[in-house]
């Protein structure tokens, strides 16, 4: 059973001219769980992963696998499996040959390409030219490349992007299974909702800086102070709540009350004799906290 090594970023900075794409990024990704690497588009996720994989040279700092940089790994593909973007293929080459090219370069057994294709469900399409693949199939082929050497560390950039619901369910199970086997799994995404059922830990960056690091549940700020309420006589309901000293905003489907809890608002309405048609405490939820952390750009 392959045992994962931790991924360690230590004060990694990458400058393009005067602009810092990534600045002083430090974090550790532990084996045995799925870690989400999140941030809006342009936050520096891909640049960070490319530095980790030795494709981009950091301006300063180091990104290593248990202390060893990618370039110094004795057998890179059996240690780390990586998939970056969906389009790194020669369109005229078949999927099997695409994988064979890299299996040969890494000295892997000649059975590795077919085994990897089977694992990602492309076994029947190995002889087809990659140029004819759909986006979802390309994503799977990218994943097959990552799995080629049965690595103990997986680094995947936006692996869920472009998959259909069935594919998302499938990759979720696959990644959870690999983490359960003790491997290190790091996946990036610009959408928290895309990975929130898959990841245990999250690392959130924005503008190239670390803004949050912790368990997924640490993002769940459920002590919301907003109440949504509605009644047939909405005008009067709003008036009653306002006169009790609350701040009120009109919504399409009712009234939003700031800094209140549902029980107090319900009692107010009962005392005033107004029959309610809806009453609920609004939950902020993970996505909201994520957007707050990454700033306005996250809304794009």
């Amino acid at each position: 059973m392959p045992t994962g090594v931790p991924i360690e970023f230590a004060h990694v900075t990458k400058s393009f001219g005067a602009v810092d794409a990534v600045s002083d990024l430090s974090f550790t990704v532990e084996p045995g769980q799925v870690t989400g690497f999140l941030g809006p588009n342009g936050a520096g996720k891909t640049t960070s992963l490319r530095m980790l994989l030795g494709l981009v040279t950091p301006t300063s700092g180091t990104a290593t696998f248990g202390g060893t940089t990618y370039g110094r790994l004795g057998s890179p593909l059996t240690t780390v499996g990586a998939s970056l973007e969906a389009a790194s293929f020669h369109p005229g080459r078949s999927a099997r040959n695409h994988l064979a090219v890299y299996a040969q370069a890494a000295g892997l057994p000649s059975t590795a390409p077919d085994a990897a294709l089977e694992k990602v469900g492309l076994g029947a399409y190995g002889a087809r030219r990659v140029g004819g693949y759909s986006l979802g199939m390309r994503q799977r082929l990218g994943l097959a490349f990552a799995l080629l050497g049965d690595p103990s560390v997986l680094v995947l950039d936006e692996p869920i992007n472009g998959l259909d619901p069935e594919g998302i369910k499938w990759i979720r199970l696959l990644l959870r299974g690999m983490a359960a086997e003790g491997r290190t799994v790091l996946i990036s995404s610009h959408l928290l909702s895309e990975v929130q059922q898959t990841v245990d830990d999250v690392i959130i960056i924005s503008h190239g800086k670390l803004v949050h690091r912790g368990e997924l549940s640490s993002l769940d700020v459920s002590d919301s102070k907003q109440v949504q309420v509605n009644a047939d006589d909405r005008e009067r309901l709003a008036e009653v709540i306002r006169s009790a000293g609350f701040e009120v905003a009109n919504l399409r489907s009712g009234v939003l009350v700031e800094n209140a809890d549902a029980a107090a608002i319900g009692r107010l309405a009962f005392d005033a004799g107004i029959p309610l048609t809806a009453l609920s405490q609004k939950r902020t939820g993970l996505e909201e906290s994520f957007l707050t952390l990454v700033g306005e750009e996250g809304a794009l």
Binding site: T46, V56, E85, A87, H90
Partner: protein, 267 residues
């Protein structure tokens, strides 16, 4: 060991797309047409009274050298495309993930292309000698297929084609844009260099420089060409000097390309 793995991988890259055989088919057809066609014209001229441009003994090497004199652009294109397609399709990412030592990748690619260039040389010679010898024989001229000189020429031609593929690799590393590389190859080999060689042959001092042009060096290496015939062929390098000039061009272009494009960030 790593370089062997890299070489295997690069050979698979070459053979797993259609490019190599499409180029090979066009090259064989083009070379055979030129060699056969010129053999027919020159043999026909030679049999008419009063116009013996060439002796029957000079004819076969001239005809056979179409393998390189018109065929050399194909290994250059193969080499250049092998490098530039890695940039174009962003396949440098998986390539460098599988082999993080980029120098090893480039060395493997260079070796694979030198072998492929030699194979293109064999195919081009089959075309030029096959078509040429058949036509010469039909006109009753000895095709000299048994002559040791002919087989020495064959060896030098294969070396020339291998070196041209190496120059293609260097050019691709130097000019990673696929379109730009193709335009440079075609413009230089089909237009600029023939013009330069013709221009250089006009005065003695320019001819001394002109003999170092890659095409001239290639003709010197091969020992015979339609160009040396038309430009008098007085000033030529020794065959081994021609080989060194081609190898040096390939080495310098590859080295500069390695430091400028190959080692850059892959994003």
């Amino acid at each position: 060991m790593n370089i062997v793995a890299s070489l295997r991988s690069e050979i698979t890259k070459l053979t797993s797309t259609r490019l190599w055989w499409v180029l090979a088919v066009i090259m064989v057809g083009y070379v055979a047409l030129c060699a056969g066609g010129l053999a027919a014209i020159l043999s026909g001229v030679g049999t008419q009274a009063g116009a013996p441009v060439l002796s029957d003994a000079q004819l076969p090497p001239l005809i056979y050298s179409f393998a390189t004199s018109v065929g050399y652009v194909f290994p250059v294109l193969l080499g250049a495309l092998a490098v530039t397609s890695e940039f174009r399709f962003q396949s440098l990412t998986p390539t460098f993930l599988a082999t993080p030592r980029r120098g090893t990748v480039l060395a493997g690619k260079m070796t694979a292309l030198v072998l492929a260039g030699a194979m293109f040389g064999v195919l081009a010679l089959v075309a030029s000698m096959g078509a040429g010898a058949a036509v010469l024989g039909a006109f009753g001229i000895d095709p000299q297929l048994g002559s040791p000189d002919t087989w020495a020429f064959v060896g030098r031609s294969i070396l020339a084609m291998a070196l041209w593929a190496a120059i293609g690799v260097g050019l691709g590393a130097l000019v990673p844009s696929q379109i730009a590389a193709i335009v440079i190859v075609l413009a230089f080999t089909q237009f600029l260099e023939p013009l330069l060689r013709f221009g250089a042959s006009i005065t003695d001092w320019s001819a001394a420089i002109g003999k170092f042009l890659p095409g001239a060096a290639s003709d010197a290496l091969v020992g015979s060409s339609i160009f040396t015939l038309t430009s008098g062929g007085g000033t030529q390098l020794e065959w081994w000097q021609g080989a060194l000039v081609l190898a040096a061009i390939a080495a310098v272009a590859t080295a500069i390309g390695y430091f400028t494009s190959w080692r850059r960030d892959v994003s």
